[in-house]
């Protein structure tokens, strides 16, 4: 059966302001000290009045511009009414018809450079709810409510249903995550819930080759990792296809409504969440407690000028300025702004971007993973690595020799030593790693090595290239730090006479 998968994403991003969106309580993830970051406003006590946090507007508008949105010049606040124990006021202050940002897009690029654009319908500000903890014992104990999170500024980013596969959904979310970290507007910690994703999924099925029917739209919730978004959508596609083959239920049939399902990562399936007695009716109306926010074109341009370089721009620059492949540029940029800055410092110091890219994507990346470190915690600074690689570029060190110095630096740091730039030369000296360019010395060593290597010479002349390896080894033993490639070339010249 031919079908197309239709996916739209709703992403909730906690903005990293110092304080909550409508009150001065600190905005901090603090589950160990429940109910210590609240006040009459975020508890929803009668008579309290909210005041908008300027920084929440700013971070929201920065994100909107980075997502190519129009910034709404006149934006207002609305109440979304529903009852849940983590929502003290009985309504969530949100934005309904005049969201902060509208009509943008985000793009991902394949390694072949092919672009995929997903349109952004809107991005609006709202307050987060508190957190409920349920008794898992099944003994019907009370649920606990922590309101520390209530009132945390959230930007809800809603995409158009432009995504066509689980892999694409994951790629878009990864690019959005990366963009938000480059902008610095959110911690984007999915485990702690500062980036949360819901996916709307359904299928357009070609039943008879000329007409299409749509399966009921399902909103999958609780997607709190990149792996889970991919796995949940893959599961949901299979489930909807089987369900359709069994029942033929489609959008427009009587009683068919949007369904909400949760995702269980451990067991690998989506499950129906208890259906609401009737379709959600949030009865939005304008919030009388908050006045509208206007933004002038000058202010929008001011924010636009202050935006940092985006990941997509940075990848393009690395290709142009440093001559990297799209693959190498992506590997570096996708690891975040910290690693990208590290790479740029190394590349500029050593003067060979390709060399810098190799080291950063292989050696440094490997050791970061092994040691579970961020680039900010890595003992070999960009300055140190840049100086080390410069020795390769000017011909003082082979790549192999540089690896030895690098390993020694890491070992020294493991013993608690602070690494200094002059250690590079000390280690080179100690291990006699300096490339010997003294041809007189090499000549003498080669002549001496050739004297007792008649068999190898005969074999080489008979066409066995690898016979020379033993002779190269002898020379290397005599002259520590000689470049094997140079020795080999000199040997061949001598034998071939």
């Amino acid at each position: 059966m031919n079908f197309t998968t239709i996916i739209g994403l709703e992403v909730h991003v906690q903005l990293n302001t110092r304080t909550k969106i409508f009150c001065g309580c600190v905005n901090k993830f603090n589950p160990d000290q429940p109910n210590t970051q609240t006040c009459p406003v975020c508890l929803g006590l009668p008579g309290s009045l909210p005041v908008i946090n300027r920084e929440a507007i700013h971070l929201g508008q920065m994100t909107g511009l980075a997502l190519n949105c129009t910034i709404t010049p006149f934006t207002k606040w609305d109440r979304k009414q529903y009852f849940y124990p983590d929502l003290p006021k009985g309504y969530q202050t949100s934005q309904f018809d005049l969201p902060l940002c509208q009509n943008g897009y985000i793009e991902t690029f394949s390694h072949e450079g092919e672009a995929r654009r997903v349109r952004i319908l809107r991005a609006h500000l709202e307050e987060d709810a508190g957190k409920n903890m349920h008794d898992e014992s099944g003994r019907g104990r009370d649920s606990q409510v922590d309101l520390n999170r209530a009132g945390t500024p959230l930007l809800e980013i809603v995409s158009q249903p432009d995504i066509r596969s689980a892999q694409e959904a994951k790629a878009i979310l990864e690019e959005l995550h990366l963009l938000l970290t480059y902008l610095g507007v959110s911690d984007c910690n999915m485990q702690e819930g500062s980036l949360r994703c819901d996916a709307n999924v359904n299928l357009h099925i070609d039943t008879d080759g000329c007409s299409k029917v749509a399966t009921p739209i399902v909103e999958v919730k609780n997607l709190n990792s990149f792996r889970s978004i991919e796995a949940a959508i893959e599961y949901e596609v299979k489930r909807q296809l089987e369900e359709f083959q069994k029942t033929g239920r489609k959008i427009g049939d009587p009683g068919v409504e949007k369904e909400t399902r949760g995702w269980d990562m451990e067991r690998g399936y989506t499950f129906a969440q208890r259906g609401k007695e009737e379709a959600a009716d949030y009865r939005y109306f304008p919030c009388p407690d908050l006045v509208p926010v206007t933004t002038s074109p000058e202010r929008i341009e001011e924010i636009r000028r202050s935006l940092p370089e985006f990941p997509a721009q940075r990848r393009a620059r690395y290709r142009q300025e440093f001559g990297l492949s799209l693959y190498d540029a992506s590997v570096i940029v996708n690891q975040g702004a910290g690693l990208a800055r590290y790479f740029e410092t190394v590349a500029n110091l050593c003067g060979d971007a390709k060399q810098a890219a190799n080291w950063v994507t292989q050696d440094v990346q490997r050791d970061l993973n092994d040691r579970k470190l961020t680039i900010g915690e890595f003992p070999i600074s960009a300055e140190l690595l840049g100086q080390l690689l410069k020795r390769i570029v000017v011909g003082d060190l082979t790549v192999k020799g540089a690896r030895e110095v690098y390993a020694q630096l890491l070992a020294d740091s493991d013993e608690g030593q602070t690494l200094l730039v002059d250690w590079i030369d000390a280690i080179i000296e100690e291990k006699s790693l300096k490339v010997v360019n003294d041809t007189g010395l090499l000549d003498a060593a080669i002549t001496s090595a050739l004297e007792d290597s008649q068999k190898a010479i005969d074999d080489y002349k008979a066409g066995k290239q690898q016979a020379l390896g033993a002779v190269v080894g002898k020379v290397m033993k005599l002259v520590k730090g000689a470049d094997a490639k140079v020795v080999r070339e000199m040997l061949i010249r001598k034998i071939d006479g």
């Binding site: 009150c23 006590l45 509208p292």
Partner: protein, 99 residues
């Protein structure tokens, strides 16, 4: 807009607001709310063509606050109005729908 308010709508609004009504309540509120809506309906006699919708009755915009922390309540004070707590959390009857 000028459709009469039905008992069915009153029951729906009550359900959404988690208010329990007796049949007598439904009758009474259908009548009373209907009168309120009828009164407000007078506004539709005005011609509002070309009039911008009003976002807020006050003619003030951009009341914003700097992102500076202010003291929060102590946990004890925060929990003090709650019908039930365990000294750390607000307690509510078990939530079945993990949504």
């Amino acid at each position: 807009m000028s459709e009469a308010l039905t008992p069915e709508t009153v029951r729906k609004v009550a359900r959404l607001a988690r208010i329990q009504l007796t049949e007598a309540d439904v009758d009474r509120f259908t009548r009373q709310l209907g009168q309120v809506l009828g009164y407000v309906e007078m506004l539709s006699e005005l011609n509002t063509d070309g009039v911008e919708p009003l976002a807020h009755p006050l003619e003030i915009e951009n009341v914003l606050r700097e992102d500076e922390p202010t003291p929060s309540l102590s946990r004890e004070a925060a929990l003090s109005n709650s019908p039930k707590s365990d000294g750390k959390y607000f307690l509510v009857p078990q939530i079945l729908d993990a949504g």
